[in-house]
């Protein structure tokens, strides 16, 4: 019970912290449930802080009876609620606001659910009940707990993405009716949330109960049909991707274009870091070089030199970026590991400062940048909006991903992998490190150059301040989160680290708090990434598979070799 008290106070402190730094108020702007419940994401965040504590306590009290777990959870909940109540009661008196600007009456209001200081007993009771529920949930068998958790997650997702869902649903006349049923103007209705919750729980429970049998039945399907089935998923994804801009509108398309640009950069950096193990923190330089090349060649403004079309300038940009990659690769050929990261860190800054410099201002425009870059024209259609550019980005991402995929299993891909594993041994086996490394830098840079080229026409202008160090870091983070060396991982990582934050724009500066926390949690819980490369996944599976042949080999006396000749 002392445990429960301590953990409860701790989670209460966490809740107070979240409230005081402003996270809660920021999240309060988004409603999870509409009237009459009127629950905001901020309140949910507070409750979650308490719930997690209560669940942890109940788990730890596993030896005791279920009643003890519920009691422990309730105690933890009440004590967490008490800490929060203290804030409400003492806050105005102690003038907390002098230090924490967020400690405002609206904050206290949202904590007490609008009842003021008089609501404290009710708050304590509510938190106690929540804690007890969490304690009970912690003792439920996994078969019941998991579906409930999925249901809660589904409701949260529904409210977080309600804007996106509404946009898509409102597009059609019939679907608009569904949208009106599910959502008020800014949040899902409690009824809709209940339906989603129940449906998710039911589906999840059903899959849990019947999934094994279903999977077994699919194994009896003839292989040809199974292959068709297996292709159905990717095919659906492609169709969905092609349709997205049409149903999602300009904002979604814009987000997807940015995701696409990061995917292009990610694929390039993945070649260097994921395949060849060459850490590069100045990668944005090549993105900038691609953008400036297209800008110079196509601009109809005063700094344009060729007034070429986008399609003619694009290959030039790719080649310029490739050459830049090789040239910048030469001085760092002999540098390894951590030192390489620091050395390449300089590149991005050098390129950015060069284009910013007075020295190159007559040609590159300095901080004013290059203006008047015309939109690309395709088949007589000017690709103006993000809906059009999305298809350009998608096409080039697909092309670049194909190239990366072909390279991965090639002779060159193996050489890169060997360099990543042990470059001395690779060299002793006849690998020319110079050409292999320069190819990695060059091809990686070329991929980023494609992204830069599209970026230039997307904005219609190019400025040095678009190419900050943070972009290099972001690209590196997204390929690590996606899974180092994995091609689908790059796309998943770009969606998770670039797409999601764009959709969650209203969380403002807290995006980066979440981003940072997510990175730490990811590296702790799933260091191989969201969609790990084949080798890493195989390693996990093969641990099981490999034991069988190993046993066989142990049973039969091992021979150093069979005389199959040489």
């Amino acid at each position: 019970m002392r445990d429960a008290l301590a953990v409860g106070l701790l989670s209460g402190a966490v809740a107070v912290y979240l409230a005081l730094v402003g996270v809660v108020e920021q999240l309060h702007g988004r409603l999870v449930l509409a009237e009459p419940v009127r629950l905001s994401l901020g309140q949910v965040a507070l409750f979650l802080a308490g719930l997690v504590g209560a669940m942890a306590v109940a788990r730890r009290a596993a030896a005791g009876s279920p009643a003890a777990a519920v009691l422990a959870g309730a105690l933890a909940g009440v004590s967490a609620g008490a800490v929060l109540s203290m804030l409400v009661l003492a806050g105005p008196a102690l003038n907390v606001r002098a230090m924490f600007v967020n400690a405002s009456p609206p904050l206290f209001d949202l904590i007490t659910l609008g009842r003021g200081p008089g609501g404290v007993p009710a708050i304590l009771a509510l938190w106690g009940a929540l804690g007890a529920a969490a304690g009970a949930a912690a003792r439920l068998p996994a078969g019941a707990r998991r579906p409930l958790a999925w249901g809660a997650a589904a409701v949260l997702l529904l409210s977080i993405f309600q804007e996106l869902a509404q946009l898509i649903l409102q597009a059609g006349e019939r679907t608009a009716v569904v949208a009106d049923l599910l959502f008020t103007s800014d949040s899902p209705t409690p009824g809709a949330a209940a339906v989603v919750f129940v449906a998710t729980v039911a589906l999840n429970a059903l899959w849990r109960a019947r999934g094994e049998g279903f999977r077994r039945r699919t194994e009896t399907i003839p292989p040809a049909a199974r292959r068709v089935l297996r292709m159905a998923g990717p095919a659906l994804a492609v169709v969905a991707a092609l349709l997205l801009p049409a149903v999602g509108g300009a904002f979604i398309s814009q987000v997807l274009v940015i995701v696409g640009l990061y995917t292009l950069m990610g694929l390039g950096l993945n070649l260097e870091v994921g395949f060849a193990g060459l850490l590069d923190l100045g990668f944005v330089a090549f993105f900038a070089i691609g953008a400036y090349t297209v800008g110079l060649l196509t601009s109809v403004g005063s700094l344009g030199i060729a007034q070429m079309s986008f399609w003619a300038a694009l290959p030039v940009a790719v080649i310029v970026a490739l050459v830049a990659g090789v040239v910048l690769g030469i001085p760092v050929l002999g540098i390894r590991g951590d030192y390489l990261a620091i050395a390449t860190l300089g590149f991005g800054e050098i390129v950015r400062l060069l284009v910013l410099s007075d020295f190159l201002r007559p040609w590159l425009g300095g901080s004013q940048g290059l203006l008047d870059i015309p939109k690309p024209v395709f088949g007589g259609v000017e690709l103006v909006g993000p809906e059009h550019l999305f298809y350009v980005t998608l096409a080039f991402s697909a092309l670049v991903a194909y190239v990366a995929w072909r390279l991965q299993d090639s002779r060159l891909g193996r050489v890169w992998m060997a360099i990543r594993e042990d470059e001395d041994v690779a060299e002793a086996l006849g690998v020319d490190l110079v050409s292999a490394k320069l190819l990695a830098y060059g091809l990686g840079a070329a991929f980023a150059g494609v992204g830069g080229a599209i970026f230039a026409v997307m904005l219609g202008s190019v400025f040095p301040h678009s190419f900050q160090l943070l972009i290099s870091i972001n690209v590196l983070a997204l390929i690590i989160v996606g899974g180092l060396g994995s091609l689908p991982g790059v796309i998943v990582g770009a969606l998770a680290l670039v797409g999601l934050p764009e959709l969650l724009r209203e969380f403002g500066e807290f995006r980066f708090l979440v981003y940072g926390a997510l990175l730490v949690v990811m590296m702790l819980l799933r260091p191989e990434g969201l969609w790990p490369a084949a080798e890493q996944r195989r390693e996990l599976r093969e641990h099981v598979e490999a034991t069988e042949p190993a046993l066989e080999a142990a049973a039969a006396p091992p021979t150093a070799g069979e005389p199959t000749g040489g």
């Binding site: 006849g430 020319d432 069979e562 040489g566």
Partner: protein, 261 residues
Amino acid sequence: MAGLLVVQGLTKRFGGLVAVNALDLVVAEHAIHSVIGPNGAGKTTLFNCVTGFYQPEEGRILFRGEPIEGLRPDRICRLGITRTYQNIRLFANMTARQNVLLGQHVHLRSTWVGAIVASRFTRQEELQAHREAERLLAFVGLRGKGGVLARNLPYGDQRRLEVARALATRPVFLLLDEPTAGMNPRETHDMMDFIRRLRDDLGITIGLIEHQMRVVMTISDRVTVLDYGTKISEGTPREVQGDPRVIEAYLGSRRASGGDR
């Protein structure tokens, strides 16, 4: 003197320490030539100089009559010298098959452009390379383990895979650095047979660093004994065994063992 590998007056220093001191050595073609000596005698340093890992301060190394000292390791590999390592150095996160395929690198011609467009030549060469990899895996007794990550292989298999990877370069001269380290008597026996077969069936000249005297005395044609970087004896196993200087180096003035360099 003619020989596949001729080392003349080789000296390698690390700061004030002379790891190899004015060494002369001739390895005859098709020989199994062992280099022995107490820990820190300079055996592995000698290997590192021959394979281009270290640049010697003085002396010459001639391979088939051509000087190779100062060449980069990849150039030396292309000339036909490959090695294995005292502490196994496989590409741990690559499969056994990929390790052997990488060994074939110097004999493959396909380019990255060919890989992207999936040219006919590339596809055929890759198919051929995969067949060769399977054959080599089978040759060293790793049939069917091509898809296993190198680091998940048992110790003995890792040693074998390292040899398969070295064989994939089609070496003329193969340097084995303590190939039986950590093996039980039965595995050691198999490895001895295997080394003999490399020489007899494949015609590869073998350079061998080995600590197990039984192995050295059984399979070597010639033995060179190093102590403090200097050659103190050389000859057939029988001659070396009877040499009082060798006995003294091993028994008389045995130092506290340090790193084997």
